[in-house]
Amino acid sequence: MGFDFVYLIEVVVGGLLSGVMYSLVAIGFVLIYKSSGIFNFAQGTMLLFASLTFVKMTENGIGFWTALFIASGIMVIVGVATEKFVMRPLANQDLLALFMATVGLATFQEGFAQFMWDSDVHGLQMNKFIDISLLDSNPIFISDYIPWLDLLIPRFDIFASLVAGTLIVVLAFFFQKTNTGMALRAVSDDHMAAMAVGIPLQKVWAIVWAVTGIIALVSGLLWAERVSVSFTLIEAVMKALPVILIGGLTSIPGAIIGGLVIGVGEKLGEIYLADLFGGQGIELWFAYFMALMFLVVRPQGMFGEKLIERV
């Protein structure tokens, strides 16, 4: 039997689709890091908290859009409150102290989520709420099989990456076109100069945390469809770490491309290299392995800033 070229394309497309979702999670990290130099360890629990809040609401009979709206509101409040009560009092402290604060925050959010809701595993079937068969009206998307291209691609993956991709585009637009976005880029480049031209540093931070809250909600819901709403969701977020290592912590385009590279890489690895590494299941760790190899070659990541210090 010759090489199955169609299958290869399926694998690559599948990888790209899941890569978009890695990218979205990674952007959450990058935004906070760019604007305040903090690696936000609580990103994963924010994701869990967001999707748990949403799921509990829908389980109690609140409609999809209402629940989405309320959950967004709650995540904005959580984000702004985190900035105001956790990060702001620690401004100008050692970065390690700030990082430890996010570790504490993660533990708190994990406990708080259990206290508020519960620690059960919740299933989340998006197609209960949104009719993704909408895609069916387009003849390309009938079931998971795409006759037009003769490929087999899960429909939900297409839907999820469309949502994630749209959010990424909206965010990119927001940061390029608005004054708030310009302020954020200014703050990420130079705090002191940003303040000197009159940019409200704390307001920018609050906006970044609020946006991160929204990203956590959206990516949480998309991931939850695959891995259910439970504490394993936090581990899903850990997949964003190799993405950041490859893309660089300071670059949004890096996060996007890093996500795609990891998505495709781990799928290709699983399918074509598994035998070399001793069987199936290497998808679980192959992303980290790729990141490690990448670090050897380019420690600052693909688009990260190379730190040059004047001596």
Binding site: K177, M192, A193, M195, V197, G198, I199
Partner: protein, 255 residues
């Protein structure tokens, strides 16, 4: 003319080290005031106290008739203070145009929603502020590098862009921290012309830290001399030149 800025008995300490000791001086509205002194004399610290970056332990700064111990740099910007930094503090990820545009952020009246959708007040904002930015770009003769990322520019031009960012905010007072450091003769001449023109044509009060004595004597109306955190001279350029303490500080004293 009245004093736009009064520094009174300011002392600034970092731990046990006194950066500034009991310094007072006034800046008249509309003048170019140079703050000079050997390395480590406390010049930049002084500027940072005025701008609100450092909080002095003792003393007050009166600006525009308001006396205070410190100000938040953002409030200073709102009150019409614009500044440049000793080690260029441009936004490295942005183009020249974008950098100068950030200097207009206090003039933006539209919300992010209007800007994102380019509706309502956003268009007017864009028009008015872009016009102001273009005026500054033309004045500083940097039209050709408008779209260049600042990180790619040579040092002298970066200094010029930073001046542009401060100038576009239509400040009452400009604080320039070594605007000519590291420049060659030609660049210095250009920069001197810009500073003089800003001062004479637009009437913007300028406080400038500078090392080049030739430049200082040429363009300033008033010179304040610091040495080891203390004020040792204050007056017109010719008065300061004749001051024995100043001569000693610069040339050393024979024992």
């Amino acid at each position: 003319m009245s004093d736009i800025l009064k520094v009174e008995n300011v002392t600034l300490q970092f731990g046990g080290v006194k950066a500034i000791t009991d310094i007072s001086f006034n800046v008249k509205e509309g003048e170019v005031c140079a703050v000079i002194g050997p390395n480590g004399a406390g010049k930049s610290s002084m500027l940072n106290v005025i701008n609100g970056v450092y909080l002095p332990q003792i003393g007050t700064v009166t600006y525009n008739g308001v006396t205070r111990k410190t100000i938040n740099p953002r409030d200073a910007a709102i009150a019409g203070m614009a500044r440049t930094f000793q080690n260029i503090a441009l936004f490295q990820g942005m183009t020249v145009l974008e950098n100068i545009m950030t200097g207009r952020n206090l003039f933006m009246k539209s919300t992010w929603l209007e800007q994102g959708l380019n509706i309502g007040r956003a268009r007017e904002d864009e028009r008015v502020n872009r016009l102001a930015v273009e005026k500054v770009i033309k004045f500083l003769q940097i039209e050709s590098i408008r779209k260049t990322p600042v990180a790619k520019l040579p040092y002298g031009l970066q200094k010029r862009v930073e001046l542009g960012r401060a100038l576009v905010a239509e400040p009452k007072i400009l604080l320039l921290d070594e605007p000519m450091a590291g420049m060659n003769l030609e660049e210095k001449a250009d920069m001197s012309c810009f500073i003089l023109e800003i001062n004479k044509e637009q009437g913007i009060t300028t406080v400038m830290i500078e090392h080049d004595m030739g430049v200082v004597m040429d363009i300033s109306d008033h010179v304040v001399v610091l040495d080891y955190g203390k004020k040792i001279g204050d007056g017109t350029p010719s008065e300061v030149m004749a001051n024995q303490d100043v001569i000693d500080a610069y040339l050393g004293v024979s024992h």
